[in-house]
């Protein structure tokens, strides 16, 4: 079974039971370089492995970029 989640505004299919840690792995993102929001709540870094992604979730993955 698969879920559809929105990651940074784009729909994406993920396997059911997928955790935030797994999602980052699928996206080939280094977890140390990002912060993650799930349905507008920050997911603490230490909870990536325990936080499951649900169907219809809105996920934001952000990083630092150059700015003033």
């Amino acid at each position: 079974m698969e879920f559809i989640v929105t990651v940074n505004g784009a729909a994406r299919t993920v396997p059911s039971g997928c955790t935030v840690a797994h999602l980052l792995e699928i996206l080939e993102i280094d977890p140390r370089r990002v912060a993650v929001e799930r349905n507008r709540d920050v997911v603490p870094r230490q909870s990536y492995g325990a936080t499951h992604v649900e169907d219809g979730d809105q996920i934001e993955v952000v990083t630092f970029v150059g700015g003033g």
């Binding site: 990651v7 990002v34 934001e60 952000v62 970029v65 150059g66 003033g68």
Partner: protein, 257 residues
């Protein structure tokens, strides 16, 4: 060397120049400009990550042992967006420091001081070290200080304008009553602008385009470093009084007849 630390929220810094990391050609230039500026605090913005693997990360260019990160809330137009950004920045940057920036107008990028103050009050309660970008308005500076901000950061001129210190008199009035550091944020275009800000008694200067927008950003990074140091020393030294007429520097007696 002058023992004159810049103390911000209980942390001691040597450099009084805070630099942004935007608008550089690439990460190598960013890294080199930061190094030459002598800055110890650098601002960064928070954005959605590009979902294309293999891209260099700004965090590779910034050694966390060397620089204190100051995440900004640039691009936020209300308190809620700014607070949301701060929560993510804290998780990502492992820092409570935030440059609070709530913009009220897209063309001028002037701050929405009402929303800034509202956000500042909430963020202070949440334990953030809040450094707010604001107008050169002494009343708002006082309100931000009363809200518990760690510094107040009045603009010298619009962001990215390079127009210099447009209203030194207001900065002086802010400095007169502020008990927290006053950091000029935005508008500094060249080294003399930075020196003027420091000569007024400002505690530090924050800039990005002033360096990144120069023809030679690396040389300008050095110039800004030197300008801030020169201005600070001149402030501490106390300038001579201005006189309308000349006062000879050489003895007036003992001239040849």
């Amino acid at each position: 060397m002058l023992d004159d630390p810049f103390v911000l929220a209980g942390r001691r810094f040597t450099s009084r120049l805070i630099v942004g990391t935007g608008k550089y050609r690439d990460l190598d230039q960013t890294r080199e400009a930061l190094a030459r500026s002598g800055a110890e605090i650098v601002t960064v913005a928070l954005r959605r990550i590009e979902l294309k693997p293999g891209q260099g990360s700004l965090l590779d260019a910034i050694d966390p042992k060397r620089y204190a990160l100051l995440p900004n809330t640039a691009g936020c137009y209300d308190a809620e967006e700014a607070i949301r950004t701060c929560h993510l920045a804290r998780e990502l940057g492992m820092t409570d420091f935030v440059k609070l920036e709530v913009i009220g107008d897209r063309r001028t990028l002037f701050p929405d001081v009402e929303e800034t103050l509202r956000a500042a009050r909430i963020l202070v309660k949440e334990g953030f070290v809040v450094l707010p970008y604001t107008n050169d308005d002494p009343v708002m500076a006082r309100k931000l200080e009363d809200a518990g901000c760690a510094a107040v950061m009045p603009l010298a001129a619009p962001i990215g304008s390079g127009l210099g210190i447009r209203n030194p008199h207001n900065l002086r009035i802010i400095l007169e009553s502020a008990k927290i550091p006053v950091i000029v944020d935005a508008g500094v275009g060249t080294a003399s602008d930075a020196a003027v800000a420091m000569e007024l008694g400002c505690h530090a200067v924050l800039m990005n385009t002033g360096i990144a927008g120069a023809r030679d950003p690396l040389l300008m990074a050095e110039a800004m470093r030197d300008g801030v140091i020169a201005g600070r020393k001149a402030f501490l030294a106390g300038r001579m009084p201005r006189r309308l007429h000349a006062a000879a520097s050489s003895p007036e007696g003992g001239l040849l007849e």
